[in-house]
């Protein structure tokens, strides 16, 4: 299979390197396994910055640093876990092309693409089904916050690039390194695993929300993403019991993920625009969703803080001289009231 528009690999085809240590049994690797060091209800630190791409209307960058920082300098080629890195650019609103039918609302089109080096196994250039699925999820999450009626006949492109994704499971417990994603040892009923996608999506929601504000597209509230999971561990934080709920899970840190929920949450309106639950949570499902909402509220704090700082950077002195007063006298705000009233 050749792609005439890109540089192709050599004809024989290549395979990712196989490390000697990954061939040994999982038991002997247990010492290298990352374990959760933060409390079950503690989320990872979030680094968020807006306005990275001046040629876009709005843009943002989000990073979740490594959950357990490796000892420096690292001595191995196999990173224990990865740290999520996302960039988002928003282009538009721009007029829809003539070929498109009339639309009374803003037409959102969301794109999510993983970089080839985003995961342990190299990814392709063409968008695959998972990326399209995530983009559809992101679309529903954003659709609920954008005030689309203000831009009839217009479209906006939300482009998220995943520079580094979240892993679905610990590499030592599976054949991930040999390019086989099919079975993770002790996998839940849904087979695929794919737990990392939820963290990626939650990050996508938060970063897109920040970029949306940077682009100046009217939204009813800030939307933020959060994940919670029911995990099973034999030796970890809750000894004896083994099963419990954690916020913002990093799948490599747990032996088994039983169920996970991801929400896109509007805190000040107490609304959920997107809910995605996987696995069998049983009767704990309400707790699980509440946990995800709690995680989303945590990331919203970072989101709001960064946007406030970005606002100060953008509008400089005006914002410093007393933000409440300025907000009240901003002409845009009073216009809004007239229009809706």
């Amino acid at each position: 299979m050749t792609d005439r528009r890109r540089t192709n690999p050599p004809n024989g085809g290549t395979a990712p390197p196989i490390f000697l240590s990954s061939l040994s049994t999982a038991d002997s690797l247990q010492s290298k396994r990352p374990s959760r060091t933060r409390r079950p209800d503690e989320i990872r630190k979030i680094f968020l910055k807006t306005g990275l791409n001046p040629s876009a209307t709005g843009s943002a960058y989000l990073e979740l640093p490594l959950p357990t920082p490796p000892p420096l300098p690292s001595s191995t080629f196999l990173p224990a876990s990865s740290s999520l890195k996302l960039t988002c650019s928003i282009h538009g609103p721009h007029p829809l092309p003539r070929s498109q039918p009339y639309s009374p609302h803003l037409q959102l089109s969301t794109h999510i693409k993983f970089a080839p080096f985003a995961s342990r196994v190299r990814r392709g250039y063409v968008r695959d089904a998972q990326e399209r699925d995530l983009a559809a999820h992101l679309d529903t999450a954003l659709r609920g916050v954008v005030i689309g009626e203000r831009w009839p006949k217009s479209g906006v492109d939300v482009c998220v690039t995943v520079l580094e994704g979240e892993e679905d499971a610990w590499w030592g417990g599976s054949n991930v390194l040999q390019g086989d994603n099919s079975g993770v040892r002790g996998e839940g009923a849904d087979g695929g695993g794919n737990w990392g996608a939820m963290t990626v999506l939650a990050g996508c929601v938060t970063v897109a929300s920040a970029a949306m504000v940077d682009a100046g597209i009217d939204c009813v509230d800030l939307v933020s993403g959060g994940v919670a999971a029911v995990v099973e561990d034999s030796t970890a934080w809750n000894e004896g019991n083994g099963k419990g709920m954690v916020l913002d899970p990093s799948p490599p840190e747990h032996e088994r993920v039983v169920a996970a929920a991801m929400v896109a949450y509007l805190q000040s309106r107490d609304e959920i625009t997107e809910l995605w639950v996987k696995g069998d949570a049983g009767i704990d499902i309400e707790d699980l969703i509440n946990g995800a909402v709690h995680a989303a509220s945590g990331s919203r704090t970072v989101l709001a803080e960064e946007l406030r700082e970005a606002g100060e950077r953008k509008f400089g002195e005006v914002a410093k001289s007393g933000s409440e007063k300025v907000l009240g006298t901003r002409p845009g705000v009073s216009n809004d009231v007239d229009m809706t009233g």
Binding site: A15, F117, R122
Partner: protein
């Protein structure tokens, strides 16, 4: 219309002026009316001032080498990843001339072509990441992307940056004192001469996060920085398992040896529109931005004014009819030109070309300092 009553009051904010009449806007900046102010571009750089590169390396956990390069508002991420091509998988029998893992420098030079014949470098540039409004994701690579990728690949091969000897994996550990135990495991019956069992293939992926001109220079800079950061794990042929195995220990890894340090510099020629240049003083120097060395200029037949602009941003790239890309290597103390690409226009003569090369040499020093600082 507003201008029917009073033309003197009509004034635009700079952005509007730039959007309405970009060429005149740039010309007004380069040719200020007051004589004491020097010509400054709309991005506040002087005509021959390059943007300072900002380089970060080793930030991606799943790449063997990576770099983030920022050039003003252009931001590029490059990740290099090694995968293994087994010698037996190569469709046509390929006769590698290399005889042993310990080649002399001359032999390395002779056997260089392997890398190109097998296509062991796989560079790809991705522009459709939403880096600019014209590059929206979901489309096949545009003509611009394909041409950039092609230029990157051909330069990687012609500059002979990476040596084939670094990419060969032999049937015996190249350096037997790495792990003597491993060698004993090998079959005694087999002939002891080392054989090439596999090759490393380097996937070089360049992603544009933000694009504001200087695409090739940024992509090339990121590629160089990432390759200089690349470490390939120690690999050997395991006869029992009949596969290539790698060690995950960093101390057994091998830093990719990069030959020389080619650096790309892009310059543009901006020619003022005829209507405006007629108003300009006719006896002024035609080619601006060349400093005093370019004082002797013959008159262009059109009589138009031209400026030399270094490292254009997206706005200037639109307006420059003529673009020159120079790739040179100064690391041996002598200027080695790897590539000059000049397209369009008749405004550059030999004398000016020399001046541009001098500017590119200055640019080389700037890149080198930043590349070395990023490595530590």
């Amino acid at each position: 219309m507003a201008n029917s009553t009073s033309t003197s009051i009509l004034s635009f904010p700079p952005q509007t002026f730039a959007a309405l009449s970009p060429s005149a806007f740039l010309h007004a900046h380069l040719n200020p009316t007051s004589s004491q102010s020097s010509s400054t571009r709309p991005n506040r750089r002087s005509p021959t001032e390059f943007r300072v590169p900002n380089i970060n390396t080793s930030s991606l956990s799943h790449a063997n080498g990576s770099a983030v390069v920022r050039l003003g508002n252009t931001a590029v991420v490059c990740g290099v990843r090694g995968e293994i091509l087994k010698a037996e998988d190569i469709p046509k029998t390929y006769n590698d001339l290399a005889k042993s893992p310990d080649e002399t420098d001359e032999e390395k030079e002779l056997n260089y072509t392997t890398i190109q014949e097998l296509g062991l470098l796989v560079p790809n540039i991705e522009l459709s990441t939403g880096c600019a409004p014209q590059h929206i994701p979901g489309n096949a690579p545009s003509a611009a992307t394909q041409s950039l990728t092609h230029r990157l690949r051909s330069l990687l091969y012609t500059s002979r940056l990476i040596q084939s000897s670094d990419l060969r994996i032999w049937s015996r550990p190249a350096n037997s004192d790495i792990d003597p135990g491993r060698e004993e495991e090998e079959d005694e019956g087999q002939d002891r001469a080392p054989r090439i069992k596999a090759y490393w293939t380097l996937y070089i992926d360049v992603l544009f996060i933000a694009l504001d001109g200087g695409a090739f220079e940024a992509a090339w800079g990121a590629t160089i920085a990432a390759l200089r950061d690349t470490k390939l794990p120690g690999a050997w042929w395991d006869a029992d398992r009949e596969m290539v195995l790698c060690s995950d220990q960093l101390e057994e890894s091998k830093q990719l040896s990069i030959r020389g340090l080619p650096v790309s510099a892009t310059l543009g020629i901006f020619v003022a529109e005829k209507g405006r240049s007629a108003k300009a003083a006719p006896n002024k120097r035609l080619m601006r931005g060349l400093g005093d060395s370019g004082a002797t200029h013959h008159k262009q037949e059109h009589g138009a004014e031209a400026w030399l602009l270094a490292d254009m941003d997206a706005f200037e790239e639109e307006l420059c009819q003529e673009q020159i890309t120079v790739v040179l290597d100064y690391s041996t103390g002598k200027t080695k030109i790897l590539k000059i690409e000049k397209n369009g226009g008749t405004f550059v003569n030999i004398e000016e070309m020399r001046h541009m090369l001098r500017l590119a040499e200055g640019r080389w020093i700037e890149w080198k300092n930043h590349l070395e600082a990023s490595k530590r």
